[in-house]
Every structure is written in C-alpha cells, then in structure tokens.
Amino acid sequence: MAMLETAAPAAKPSSRVKASAPDSRTHYRKFELGQFSFERDEYFVTIGWSAKGARQQHRMSADAFLRALMRDVAWGFFYGWVNFDAMFGTRNLYGRVQFFAGRYNEAYHKAGLSYVEEFDSPTAMETCKAMLRDWCNAGFDPFAAPEETGSTWAGTKQGDNIAAIERFRVATKRMPGIPGDSPLRDDLPVNRAFVDVAQDEPEIRAEPGYEGKLQAFNLFKYLSRSDVTWNPSVTSVCRESLFCPTTEEYILPIIHGNDRVEWFVQLSDEIEWDVSDKETGRPRARVLMKAGDVAAMPADIRHQGFATKRSMLLVWENARSDLPKLYESGQLKPYPVEF
C-alpha cells in the first residue's frame, strides 16, 4: 500500500489475505493478520496472539464476533475504538488501524499479556471482509436483531450470506430524497416493530418556478423502514455536523470508545447505556435515555447500548478530521460543555 511519502507501491490488499484451506471438520478457514490468528468452530471464534513468550488466546461467541466484525467492516473501522468485547478490538488511526488484544483490559495489560499491532487499513479490511464472508452462514444476518434472523450462525459451515453482509450502502451529501442525493427507503417494508409509525410525508406547496426546490421528508418513516440495527447513516449534513440516526434493538454489538465527543438524542422508546472508562474498562455510569432525552458521550469513555424494543436513536457526530489529535493531546477536554 503506497502512501504519498513512500514511492514504492505494495502488493494489492486483496492478495495479502492469509487464509488457510477449509478445516476438514468445520469447513471454516483460519486467518492470520500479522501476529494475530483467527479461527472459528461451531460456537466460538478464537483469537490468538503472542505475549510473554507464549501464545495467548481469547474466545468469544461466534455470533457476537460476527456482529461486531460486521460493524467494523461496514463502518470502515468507524471512529476511535471498536471493542468487540472487553479484550479484543480495533482502533482507527485513519489510514492505519490498530488491532489489540487485552490492551484496554486493565488486568491483562498490567500482567503484560496484551498485544497491539498496526496495519494499513485497506489490507486489514480485506482480511476482515474475508473472515465475514467465510464465517457467516446462510440464514444468519449479522446486521439483524436476534429475533429477526436465524440461529444458523452456530454449527459447521453451511453456505454464506453475502447479500446480507454486502448490502447497498447509503452516502448522503446533504439530505436523503434531494435529487442526486441518497434515496428514501420507500421500497423497503416497515419493520415489524414500527408498524404504528405514521408514514405520511410533509406537505410541500411550491410556488411556480420552485417546484422541486423545497426539500423535506419523514425522518421517522425513513427510520421505520431500516432493515438493519445499530448502523448509523447520515440524514443531514450541516458542514461537519452530521445527523446519523439509526434503529436499535438488542445490544450494540461493539463497545464503542469514540475518539471525540458524540451526542445521542433518543427519538423513540428507550435505550440503556453502560458507560465505562475507555482506557481501563472500569464502570463509570449508566445512562437510561427515553424519548426526547439528549446526552453527550464524552471522549474518554466507551459505551454499549441495550434496547428491548426497537428504538430510533439520533447519533450526532462532528466529523472534523483533526478532533482525535485535539482530544488525545488534551487541547480539548473530553466533555463538551463546562457549567
């Protein structure tokens, strides 16, 4: 992978995926990325790395791993830290990505058993995508809530679900529905949890010559027709201020340690958030948000949400590229307002 300051182009990212032949029993492939190894069996994904002169291992439920991996792939390693659980995750360095095991787990790190390795983002992404393709069985959608998808994540390899993991992606320049911008979701059905959400559209009365120039849409209708959970997508762009609402059901598949302040506005129903320290994982707060509540998520925490009823959440991000450095250096305080 070539960067501007190095002249020699490396091999294509897709050719650098290190995968084994399918296992003779489970038919899943094993993968390697640097010193990390990844393998799965009927129930678990096992992540391996070296520390203190010995091979270390961590195990997680395969469905939880795949749900987290799906978000990392769909969001291009997202903002900041994507913790798959208390042990393993990735940290976006924007062009580079850090994979870590135990680094942000206080006990493991103090015991010298943690490990961190950095990669070119495109190379690491190709490995993640290959794992997702190989390990997601037919009938399992890692974007769906458990009630909506099958339990075929378990067991030996049975087909795949490429359509689910490579869904059409939305890119919004200004607002959905504007000509030339991302489409509305009129072709998608209303989710079972939102059949009582009004589907009416704003009434636009344009003067002659201004037809098509007044722009509005039903945001709640748009969200009611989302076919994925815990997947923010942009619905308004006000310079670097982005509204990224999403529909949430069950558990946020990652524990997100943002590298900047972000805000939540609960549009409907409720979500409870477990908040812990970004560095150590020690619990700091629990935030129960109900419809109309607004809360900041500071830049020095990690959070994970729980929602029994599918709910609509507005995630509000500041997309400025220089923010991670400003927060990390202490030039910006980790909380948004002092009062």
């Binding site: 070539a2 501007l4 976006n92 062009g95 495109p122 992606r169 890119a171 982005l242 590229s321």
Partner: protein, 151 residues
C-alpha cells in the same frame, strides 16, 4: 484486479499544441462551482510534475475550514481533479496535509473509513459508499501546466 475502462474523453493522448489545452476530464458535476471559494475556470493550479506520478496532492483555495479543497491525482501525463470530500461522511480523504492512502495509479482510499475510489473517474468501487463518486472537477493541461477547465 479488473481495470475499469476509462470513460470516453478521459485521458486521451493527442499531439500537444502549445496553446491548445488538453481536456482531461469530461464527466464533471458542475455543483462544485457553487461551493465556497471554488476556483474560477482557467485558474492555474500547478505543473503536472508538482503531483508525483501515481500519487495525489491537495490544493487549497480560500482560507479557513471552508476553503475549497481540490484533490489532483496523476498517472503519467494524465491528471484527474476532484473535490476532496468523501461522499460517505463528507470529510476530506486525508486527515493530515498531503498524506493519502492509495494504491499508486489506480485507487485512492478515504483515510477515515476506507472507501476506495478509482483514479480515473472517482467512482467508489468498495467501502461504505460503494456506488457513489467523488465530485469531478474538469482540468486542462497546456504548456503552462494544469488549470481548471474553461466552461
């Protein structure tokens, strides 16, 4: 790796005449002209050699965070201009000045979330905005260098 066919009119070679500009990008969305500090047609940007071969360089017009950010990609004698703004989250493709993630001559990635764009037309082949494109800015090359194409 499949190679995308260059759209008609892009990257064509013809005998250069001293004062005859070579149009190097024809599929332009003129919406970029409405942006703050958008450079005027005919504005000279740089010499071809200012952009390392196979690489990318950014040129700013105006000041502050609303400055117009022009991204130029170069492959040999061909240069391709785009607004430096990823359609995924409307952020520049680079997080640090002139530091880009790319596979020389072929693809440039958005450093924020790994969207992968083709050099020759800015089409996103993979990543979180697959199917979208960078906003193209038509450029011309003549004896004086690279300039914003005349309308």
């Amino acid at each position: 790796m499949r190679t995308a066919a260059a759209p008609a009119g892009v990257g064509g070679r013809r005998a250069a005449q001293p004062d005859t500009p070579m149009m190097l990008q024809s599929t332009e969305d003129p919406a970029w002209r409405e942006r703050d500090f958008a450079p005027e047609p005919g504005t000279r940007v740089c010499s071809v050699e200012d952009v390392p071969d196979g690489m990318a360089k950014e040129f700013l017009f105006g000041e502050g965070r609303q400055a117009f950010r022009l991204l130029i990609l170069r492959s040999g004698s061909r240069v391709f201009g785009y607004v430096n703004r990823c359609p995924h989250f409307s952020v520049p493709l680079n997080v640090e000045p002139d530091r880009f993630t790319l596979f020389a001559h072929e693809h440039i990635y958005c450093s924020t979330h790994c969207a992968m764009f083709r050099f020759e037309d800015g089409y996103c082949e993979d990543g979180p905005c697959a199917g979208a494109s960078l906003e193209a800015v038509a450029l011309e090359v003549n004896a004086e260098g690279v300039r914003i194409a005349l309308r």
